[in-house]
């Protein structure tokens, strides 16, 4: 199918385009008959019937045929390369522009994030949504260390998120530690799990590494489900303490015990549930910003450059006296630690956790955020996380609007399509413009700066 359409520049090879479209239609037919054409119906008393919808199949196949025909014709007219080049060129310019002004854009984003809860339009719901976005941003930045910098494809990142969440929940349950006391412990525990995962996969690369990390993620989840005595099994853990503001809890003064001063009493405010939502928002904002500063700083240190060197060429690393074992383990540990912090926050925010929150889908979403945003790009992660979480909410926002209200349901589909488009046109991600960690000559000598050979 790949070369059929555009065999010559400007010359339209109609039979080839028709063949190509017919092939696509056949593929669509084969897929559509079981997926769309047959529908099971409940006939009561445990009997299943099958309803056929071959008219739907026909519409679909015709649509695929005509669509493929149109695409083939268009590509043949423009020349396939020219079309792809134009799209990637435009994206590339946009990406370079965004990267050039990343300080400005980052600054505006930062100011917006800080003032967001006090904007006139903001509400309990929106601040909560912002908290959600920030959790994904933080996870994305953490995974970025492992995938974007060190180039180790990790499909089980959610395991560390789970370790962080459960370790905080359990420390709170057994030792009555508060969120702030347990946070460093959860991070350290998650980091040690990162090292535990790191050891067996030291010799693995690429696909094999991905499979093992995927397995590790599932192992953690299955342990959480089955080790009921400790983790509460599928029921999860309830009553996880909420974070306090330097010891001042966010409670309704009427419901609080008498010997406790609540946040609203201390500051002589009227109690409102919004206070806690806003507080949580700021907690995750600070955690995320610290993560950002930490990882940006690490990238400019020898350790960060070693991660990137490992991604580029492990054999050359060894020949230069870099110890690949330590470099890999440190990447896993740092990434896992950030995941653990995010997990602790997740637990304290909801007050309840169960293994359902730590499925493979979560790992896939975080990975998709990193890959879509641009591996190694901090701003790209923010962008992708925002889009992803917002897509989920489309159903609520556009209730009754024909197409948009279904976007939430189809978000994984949309995300998948976006992923394919990105892989074709910008395989390094949307905002993949790497800023060197060191420069010899002052910035702004564009003629001297090479472009990545893609």
């Amino acid at each position: 199918m790949a070369v059929a359409a555009a065999s010559g520049r400007g010359r339209v090879d109609l039979p080839a385009i028709f063949r190509d479209a017919a092939l696509a239609a056949v593929v669509a037919l084969v897929l559509a008959v079981p997926l769309v054409g047959l529908q099971t119906t409940d006939q009561g008393s445990n009997a299943l019937g099958i309803r056929t919808r071959f008219d739907w199949v026909a519409y679909g196949v015709i649509a695929v045929f005509l669509g493929r025909l149109a695409i083939g014709y268009w590509l043949a007219l423009r020349g396939r390369r020219a079309a792809a080049g134009a799209a990637s060129g435009a994206l590339g310019r946009l990406s370079a522009a965004v990267s050039r002004h990343s300080m400005v854009i980052g600054g505006i984003g930062f100011l917006f994030a800080v003032t967001f809860p006090f904007m006139p339009f903001s509400s309990n719901y929106l601040v909560d949504l912002g908290t959600n976005v920030l959790i994904y941003v933080m996870l994305g930045w953490g995974l970025n260390v492992v995938v974007g910098l060190a180039g180790l494809l990790d499909l089980g990142y959610v395991a560390f998120y789970a370790v962080g969440a459960y370790s905080f929940a359990l420390f709170a349950q057994w030792f009555h530690l508060s969120f702030w006391e347990a946070l460093p412990i959860s991070g350290a525990l998650a980091a040690s799990f990162g090292i535990i995962l790191g050891f067996p996969v030291l010799r693995l690369r690429g696909d094999y590494l991905a499979i093992v990390t995927l397995g590790f993620g599932e192992i953690i989840r299955i342990i959480l489900v089955n080790w009921s005595d400790v983790t509460g099994g599928p029921n999860g853990i309830n009553g996880i303490p909420r974070p306090s503001f330097f010891g001042l809890p966010f409670l309704n003064p009427d419901a609080a015990p008498d010997d406790v001063t609540t946040f609203s009493q201390f500051f002589h405010l009227d109690f409102s549930p919004l206070q806690r939502v806003i507080f949580l928002y700021y907690v995750i904002l600070i955690l995320a910003l610290v993560t950002n500063a930490f990882t940006l700083r690490l990238r400019k240190l020898p350790i960060g450059r070693a991660w990137e060197a490992l991604r580029e060429d492990e054999i050359a690393c060894r020949a230069l006296g870099l110890n690949p074992r330590n470099i890999k383990l440190s990447a896993f540990a740092i990434g896992a630690m950030i995941g653990g912090f995010a997990g602790s926050f997740f637990a304290t925010r909801l007050g309840f956790i169960s293994p359902e929150s730590f499925t493979f889908l979560e790992s896939a979403i975080v990975l998709a955020i990193v890959v879509l945003g641009g591996m190694g790009s901090q701003l790209g992660v923010v962008l992708a996380a925002t889009v992803l979480v917002m897509l989920n909410e489309f159903g609520r926002w556009f209730d009754g609007v024909p197409l948009l209200e279904d976007m939430g349901k189809f978000r994984m589909l949309i995300f998948g399509m976006a992923m394919i488009a990105i892989m074709i046109w910008r395989p390094r991600g949307l905002l993949a413009h790497r800023e060197p960690s060191l420069r010899l000559h002052a910035k702004g000598a564009p003629s001297l700066v090479g472009e990545p050979a893609e």
Binding site: P302, I303, A306, A316, L320, G321, P324, H441, P452, A453
Partner: protein
């Protein structure tokens, strides 16, 4: 030159892959301030020697001793691959260039100084805090990189991505990167491959200046005889994993065994010297196979 202390002693090195003996009982010595070339037909085992020296392969038997100028002796065959450059100071380049293509030229050279910088940054803690101790170390690393960039003529392209450099420049950058680890022995695997005559002339100058100015030993695998003959002080010739000749360029050039190996001769038995010159002549008249 002969009073030079031996830098690397290879004794009875043997490397077998299953039934195949890639290197059989190879012994030679490389000295400081000398360029030792290892030559031989394709598949003679030259790169395997390098892989044994730099820890990528564990030799089946034999001993590889590096006499470090600071007095310590290292048995390379017993060391982990990454410790060989770190402790013994054996640096290498690769036949198919292995740069960090997605990083800049300068970063390539700074990564090579990782171990020094890592200590200075106290495993990132001093670095995270931005202590002067780390900042000074980083500045020193950049200065060293700048020195080598100047030496290989890449100073103006320091902020380019390494992968965007032309081929000849990539070869030079790889040598500069190897030099940035502050080696005692530099192993170059076909540095002139794919270079045009001007570039390989520049390479000769670079190799000679490394030898004289840095006072280190250089091991060189090369097919380009113009490079080998003009820069090396000492040549080791391999064929089918065995050493067939060892000596100065002049001696090796006239060694009948070498001529036989290069020009092809069906008779593999060692011939008496008196007929060797005749064999050389017949081989020449037949031409290479």
């Amino acid at each position: 030159m002969s009073e030079n202390a031996p830098l690397l002693e290879v004794e009875h090195l043997t490397m077998r892959f299953g039934g195949l003996t890639a290197i059989g009982d190879l012994s030679f010595t490389a000295r400081r301030d000398e360029i030792t070339a290892i030559i031989g037909p394709n598949g003679a085992g030259k790169t395997t020697v390098f892989n044994c020296l730099t820890g990528f392969y564990k030799p089946s038997s034999g001993r590889l001793t590096l006499h470090h100028p600071h007095g310590q002796d290292y048995l390379l065959e017993r060391m982990d691959g990454f410790r060989i450059p770190r402790l013994a100071g054996v640096a290498r380049t690769f036949q198919n260039i292995r740069l960090f293509a997605g990083m800049t030229v300068l970063e390539n050279l700074v990564v090579a100084q990782h171990n020094k910088l890592m200590r200075a940054s106290a495993f990132s803690i001093a670095g995270l805090m931005g202590l002067p101790r780390y900042r000074n170390a980083e500045a020193a690393a950049v200065d060293r990189a700048r020195y080598w960039l100047d030496k290989v003529g890449l100073l103006s392209r320091a902020d380019w991505l390494a992968g965007a450099l032309p081929y000849g420049a990539q070869r030079r950058l790889e040598i500069a990167r190897a030099m940035c680890i502050d080696p005692t022995l530099l192993c170059l695997d076909e540095p002139a491959a794919g270079l045009n005559p001007t570039e390989s002339g520049e390479l000769n100058q670079l190799l000679l200046s490394i030898r004289t100015e840095q006072k280190i030993g250089v091991l060189l695998i090369e097919h380009d005889m113009s490079v080998v003959m003009s820069v090396s002080d000492h040549i080791v010739v391999l064929d089918y994993g065995r050493k067939i000749s060892d000596g100065t360029p002049q001696a090796v050039r006239n060694d009948p065994a070498v001529i036989r190996a290069y020009l092809g001769e069906e008779e593999t038995d060692v011939l008496p010297p008196e007929v060797a010159s005749d064999v050389g002549m017949t081989a020449t008249s037949q031409g290479p196979r």
